[in-house]
């Protein structure tokens, strides 16, 4: 057999030792550190991407929320305005009505008072007139009642003048 086909025991031994040394050292201090670091970095990048995506989503959500909020606010504003005009109109109408009522009431009161005053004045005048007429009548009577004949005639005359009530 050619010599290159028979492995030398010396080289075999050295190779075993050398490969074990390099393997143990690199397995402990070499490759796992490099691959571990790359994996860590990859994880970090993945996480960063995920959080960026999340942040973007959140931003979009916030924007949408803002939009809806704005719309809602506008809707509310117009509604409030509408309500306000409605209420003011109502108030104005109500106050007008009330004013009219009040005015009517005042007028009626005034009328009633006027009537009462008038009545009172009439009564007063009547009483005065009655008084006066009685006084006058008394005086006339006191003068006239000096003869009987004339008295009777007078009474008759008065009686005939008084309308039948």
């Amino acid at each position: 057999m050619p010599s290159f086909l028979t492995p030398e025991p010396g080289l075999l031994l050295w190779m075993l030792v050398a490969f074990l040394v390099v393997f143990i050292l690199l397995a402990k201090y070499g490759f796992p550190i490099i691959t571990g670091m790359v994996e860590k970095r990859k994880q970090f990048i993945d996480e960063s991407l995920a959080s960026a995506r999340e942040a973007n989503e959140k931003l979009a959500n916030i924007k949408a929320e803002c939009h809806t909020l704005l719309q809602e606010a506008q809707a509310r504003q117009s509604q409030i305005l509408k309500e306000a005009t409605l209420t003011s109109n109502q108030i104005v109408a109500e106050s007008k009505e009330k004013a009219q009522e009040e005015a009517a009431r005042i007028i009626q009161d005034a009328r009633r008072q006027i009537q009462a005053e008038t009545e009172r004045a009439q009564r007063d005048i009547r009483a005065q007139v009655a008084d006066l007429s009685i006084q006058i009548a008394g005086k006339i009577l006191a003068r006239e009642m000096q003869n009987d004949e004339e008295q009777n005639r007078w009474i008759d005359q008065v009686l005939s003048q008084i309308p039948n009530s």
Partner: protein, 364 residues
């Protein structure tokens, strides 16, 4: 982009320049004849010294420590340059024969016969290359891991070299390991498979550099791929679940295939060993063949030069073009073989955790 193009151009220039000394290595022929087989085998094999070049009949090489147990049980440890200094290349009764059955191995004479020493654990060229790669890997990956100290998940991603390594590691981790084993179990195996991938990739690449800090045919050596396959074998079988073993000893096939004569179980049991064996041979053969082809093409230059100037120049040009092509191909193969080894290991490990996959598929 422009910068990348410049870098690739620079890389190609460096690659072609690096071949000049490679050619010098091949010029080993002493008597004018070139022994291609010896050159190829010599450079793809192991040696006790790191040969750089031969200059004016002088071998210029880096001596390496020789450590072994002799046949009488005694330990020996000395520099390989002793063999050159000693008379006749015999030092203390030990020598390295240059040919024959034991060529390149430390031998001694016992009872008048050439015998290999009991156990040779010398720091050979391949062993030194192995440790260079280990140190390089530790520097690169622990260095990069240290960059992450005091860093949090939200700090910036690394740039430059650390960024490149991180990208490379994550490519292997996600596209090979996680994809083949599955999300649930891959974590336990990721360190081993990553280590195996980068060890193979780095060894393949450094094996393509022909001068000193590289050039050893490490992943094209059966002992190295054997150990790698052994690790994969244990990774597959030590943590295999019930379903995996059931599939081996009682597979879902007609009963006559497994009851009186356990045909399928035997085949499946055999499969346990053939899977890592295939991994071992595939990696070894690919890298060995790549090195052998590049070396052979280099030898073509010297063989044809002996035939005459015209033929030599013509064929050498072809050979250099082929060599550059082969080297680019080998760059590709360096990656592909590391990829294939890791992917198949991951697939086999994934198969040992099959049940969960099916459950998950049924759930989703």
């Amino acid at each position: 982009m422009n910068c990348l193009r410049n870098n690739i151009a620079l890389l190609l220039i460096a690659l072609s320049m690096v071949f000049v000394p490679f050619s010098a290595i091949a010029a080993e022929a002493e008597d004018g004849k070139i022994d291609v087989q010896e050159i190829v085998m010599g450079h793809t094999g192991d040696s006790h010294e790191w040969h750089i070049t031969t200059w004016g009949g002088h071998h210029i090489s880096i001596p390496l420590p020789v450590i072994f147990i002799a046949n009488d049980g005694s330990w020996h440890c000395f520099s390989s340059s002793r063999f050159h200094e000693a008379k006749g290349g015999v030092y203390n009764g030990f020598y390295i024969p240059s040919e024959g059955e034991n060529s390149g191995k430390i031998c001694e004479t016992v009872n008048g016969q050439e015998t290999k020493v009991k156990l040779d654990i010398s720091l050979t060229k391949n062993v030194l290359q192995l440790w260079i790669i280990v140190v390089l890997m530790l520097l690169i990956f622990i260095g990069c891991a240290r960059w992450y100290r005091n860093k949090k998940a939200d700090s910036d991603a690394p740039k430059g070299f650390v960024g490149f390594i991180e990208m490379f590691v994550m490519m292997v981790n996600d596209d090979i390991i996680k994809a083949c084993i599955g999300e649930k179990h891959y974590r336990r195996y990721a360190p081993y498979l990553l280590t195996a991938f980068f060890f193979i990739f780095l060894s393949n690449l450094i094996g393509l550099v022909p001068i000193f800090p590289g050039g050893a045919n490490l992943t094209g050596n059966l002992a190295v791929t054997l150990v790698l396959a052994l690790f994969t074998f244990f990774a597959i079988n030590l943590f295999g679940n019930r379903e995996y073993w059931l599939d081996i000893f009682w597979p879902k096939v007609p009963v006559w295939l497994k009851c009186p004569v356990p045909m399928m179980p035997i085949i499946e049991l055999f499969g346990i060993f053939t899977k890592p064996f295939a991994l071992m041979v595939r990696l070894f053969a690919n890298i060995f063949a790549g090195h052998a082809i590049v070396l052979s093409l280099t030898c073509v230059i010297f063989i044809t030069c002996q035939l005459g100037a015209a033929i030599g120049a013509g064929l050498s040009t072809v050979s250099v073009v082929m060599m550059i092509f082969m080297d680019c191909l080998e760059l590709l193969v360096a990656f592909i073989q590391a990829y294939v080894f890791t992917m198949l290991s991951a697939v086999f490990i994934g198969l040992a955790h099959q049940e969960e996959h099916e459950e998950k598929a049924a759930l989703s």
